[in-house]
């Protein structure tokens, strides 16, 4: 956190409470279940436990795009040995930093090499190896790697690897147990298959997500992309699901690998809920509806005194509780809502006009209430509510700090780094963070010697020829 004098304060700025403080004053019965969960789930016990995928080796050969990196970092958090294969000089993503500002990059204390925070955040638990697949010799090395890998992930332009003789058709001959996964934005086949250079948010724009996000035009809104390369995160998650399903089938049934294909656009098409069915029923085109919801009222984010506030209550019990809270300060608003016959039935409240009326009146109350005040009052009535948090607030949010959603690591290369931890909380085989990124080619010695038996001579020859 930046103090007024520009100095960055240590994290956390406010100490995290202890379990004794969190559960103080509760009866033994009330404490029993959360303390049981803490005993089996707390992340401080992670390293006492085995890893689900520790027998699995993944070769992630994707570059320039985050879908593959996201996929393999999920597998790495679950214990797989992930070898990140980058072109010599490193993945171009290493160089990305907001607005090109080099001062925001992280510098390796030994070599002075810089890396952007985005790339670093997804390189957790991975080994960094360089290999130039544009050379014949590099491709021969990849074929040797394929013998040792359970999973290979690549995102080259469609057909590139096949043409090079290292595609699924060829590698599956070398290693029939190999699970070969291609990831991309729109696909490696079909009339609009991927073009070189396609990266997110291409996927977001091609699936209906961007068109459907943001305020309606009447409210001054435009189609809106996610700030994140979000479809890559979703697509990478589906790729990892496909890989693990293939792995289970290999182990339990067939003994053989298969070909997996996942795209960021199709991952979002899958989860664009009712858009397609609705369109087929009456021709409706999913409209933008901003921070409200087409299918639930109350369920929205609206402006409040010090920012933006989420209030939710789709069914009657919560609806009346919300208006009771509002009525404590604005009895006329509560009367107006409860007296409106068109707002009495849950279903009737969904129409556009009713939503406009609901939220206009709710904002009367929100404008006097800060996020904290509104949440405190609504929580007493067990209404789901909370403010929109900015990153500085996320990093300091008590519940998140206590559970370890955000943590700081001391990297041997880059010093202290704040990062988002794996959400794979578990009893027996939890996900975990072991290290956060390595300099380019840092693990060449280890990996090439251990798996392929490279000698000093091999290293010097291949480095000179720019193969590794």
């Amino acid at each position: 956190m930046a103090a007024a004098n520009g100095k960055v304060l240590p994290w956390p700025a406010v100490p995290t409470p202890t379990p004794e403080e969190v559960y103080a004053g509760l009866s033994d019965q009330a404490k029993d279940y959360p303390l049981f969960l803490e005993s089996i789930c707390r992340q401080e016990h992670n390293f006492e436990k085995p890893e689900a995928l520790s027998k699995i080796r993944v070769l992630d050969c994707t570059t320039t795009m985050t879908i593959g990196h996201w996929c393999s970092s999920q597998l790495a958090e679950l214990g797989a040995e992930v070898i990140q294969v980058e072109p010599p000089g490193g993945d171009p993503l290493r160089k990305l930093t907001p607005f090109g500002r080099k001062q925001y990059m992280f510098k390796d204390k030994d070599s002075g090499e810089e890396v952007g925070g985005h790339f670093l955040h997804e390189m957790r638990n991975k080994l960094s190896v360089t290999l130039n697949l544009a050379t014949e010799e590099g491709r021969n090395i990849l074929k040797q790697f394929a013998v040792h890998a359970d999973v290979i992930i690549e995102n080259a332009p469609p057909g590139q690897w096949d043409e090079w003789g290292i595609g699924y058709r060829q590698l599956s001959q070398i290693n029939p147990r190999l699970i070969y996964c291609w990831v991309g934005q729109l696909g490696q086949w079909g009339p609009r298959k991927d073009k070189p250079g396609n990266v997110e948010p291409t996927g977001q724009a091609a699936c209906g997500f961007v068109h459907g996000t943001g305020d309606p035009k009447e409210f001054g809104g435009v189609p809106t992309r996610s700030a994140l390369w979000m479809a890559d995160h979703v697509g990478g998650t589906t790729a990892a699901m496909g890989i693990l399903a293939a792995l289970l089938y290999r182990e339990n049934v067939s003994g053989k690998g298969q070909f997996v294909e996942a795209t960021s656009a199709e991952a979002i098409i899958r989860i664009l809920d009712y858009s397609w069915a609705w369109h087929s029923m009456d021709g409706s085109i999913r409209p933008r509806f901003g921070n409200w919801d087409l299918a639930i009222n109350i369920y929205a984010v609206n402006p409040c005194k010090d920012g933006y506030m989420m209030v939710g209550g789709g069914h009657d019990r919560l609806w009346y509780r919300i208006w009771r809270v509002v009525g404590d300060e604005y009895p006329a608003v509560e009367d107006e809502i409860l007296g409106d016959p068109n707002l009495r039935e849950v279903a009737d409240r969904l129409a556009m006009n009713q939503q406009i009326k609901t939220y206009t009146l709710l904002c009367e109350w929100l404008k006097d209430n800060s996020r904290a005040d509104a949440e405190r009052k609504l929580s007493k009535q067990q209404v789901a509510s909370g403010g929109v948090l900015y990153v500085n607030e996320v990093a300091e949010y008590t519940h998140f700090k206590y559970r370890g959603h955000v943590a700081e690591t001391e990297s041997p290369h880059y010093g202290k780094i704040l990062y988002g931890t794996t959400p794979f909380i578990q009893h027996k085989t939890p996900g975990r963070m072991k290290w956060l990124g390595r300099p380019t080619g840092y693990d060449n010695q280890d990996v090439y010697r251990r798996l392929l038996g490279f000698t000093r001579e091999d290293f010097s020859r291949l480095e000179k020829a720019k193969v590794i």
């Binding site: 990305l96 961007v210 996000t213 899958r270 989860i271 299918a295 008590t398 955000v406 704040l418």
Partner: protein
Amino acid sequence: MATAPTATKQSFEEFCRTTFDPKKEFGKPEALKGVRVLSMTQYILGPSCASYLAELGAEVIKIEAPRRGEAMRHTTPFNEPFLYPLSKWIPERGTGLGFLGANPNEYFISVDFHRPEGQAIVKKLAAKSDVIVENYRPGTFDRWGIGYRQIREINPRLVYCWLGGFGGWGPGRVRASYDILGQAQGGNFGMTGKPEFMGGTPSKHTIWLADYWGGMMGALQILAALYWRDKVSGEGTFTEYSQVHGVTRQLEYALPLYGRHGITRERWGNWDTQLCVHGVIKTGKSSYPNSDNPQEQEEGYILVSAYTDEAFAKLCQATGNSALASKYGKTEERVKAESQVEIYPALEKWAADKTKEQVASTLDAAGVNNQPVWNSKEVASNPHWQERGAVRWLDDPTFGDLLHQGPAYKLSETPPRLKWAFKPVGADNEYILGKLAGFSPDDLRRLEEQETI
């Protein structure tokens, strides 16, 4: 392996088209055949998690409250479209489309968990299952005697997956959550949308992203746990997925930047903070000026992507922006915030008298990557998505013809697939409870009359 004898003669694209042909899905085996999942879930986060396993061939049994079923069945856009009947008891009502997409391929039974007899049914099913997915408030199932502590005694091989907003322990454990709250508090909401100086506000990802994607993260963890059980230990486990935690995991450089420099990542609208040109611009003309649908009357939007120096030079030439070409020819100049503020408006000025298709065809001809911002109709009718089965017609056994999303990803040997959209509440009571709980028709009748099922 899919390698046919003639495969080497086939072009790669043809090979892929044959290998991943959605029409051939039903001729291939299923990856999770023989895996039984109990889905005791509501809304989207929990249900979607189980449904991804159902697409892979698991036998997913969704257990709902008798008669009216779960809350999401009563949720539909503007209260307009419904699929009938809701259940055999309430045929005059339908299921809202909010339910669709989160429950495909599942078997639907109804059980009232509040009653001891209902809890006994759950225990009988759990003894024969591999996975439980539930998203009730933390500790509720424990109190009812059907939580992880009790079920692991009955069936130590079971993977018990709880999903929810804030997790079952810690100071915020009692807070209720929904997708939108997960987004708001996890951090992606505050970063999305235009910044204040462009007149924007924090913006929700319009799909129930934290729910639907959170369900995937839950399913991923379940698959890993099944692998560990089958290949390594023989033991089940307990997994806890907090959707707000998931959202915080995906904030890219935001946390490292804040931790090192105390700088809070802000909104940057439809542009990109790390690449330029790589943003969505407005094209002045609608593609469908004569349509009576306001969605189609609107101006077009298109993603223009020319972030390398070479691509940017092509873009400038194609759009007649020679001044920009010389001023911003270098990546590090172009990506600066103050440069972006000048570059994108210049592109929008060029596009002001064009439709998004006209812009796309100019850029295609110049070799500049682009992607028109398609609405849901344009996606649904696009030959690319139709051929790949991303959006497909489903001849649903209960509800008839429906346009439906296909599975998100493709597997050559054991493809995930779509069998049915969902079924009415309790539609499989007889089949599932007869098969797994040993109930006779008389038992079922009595339980139905009592509304235990």
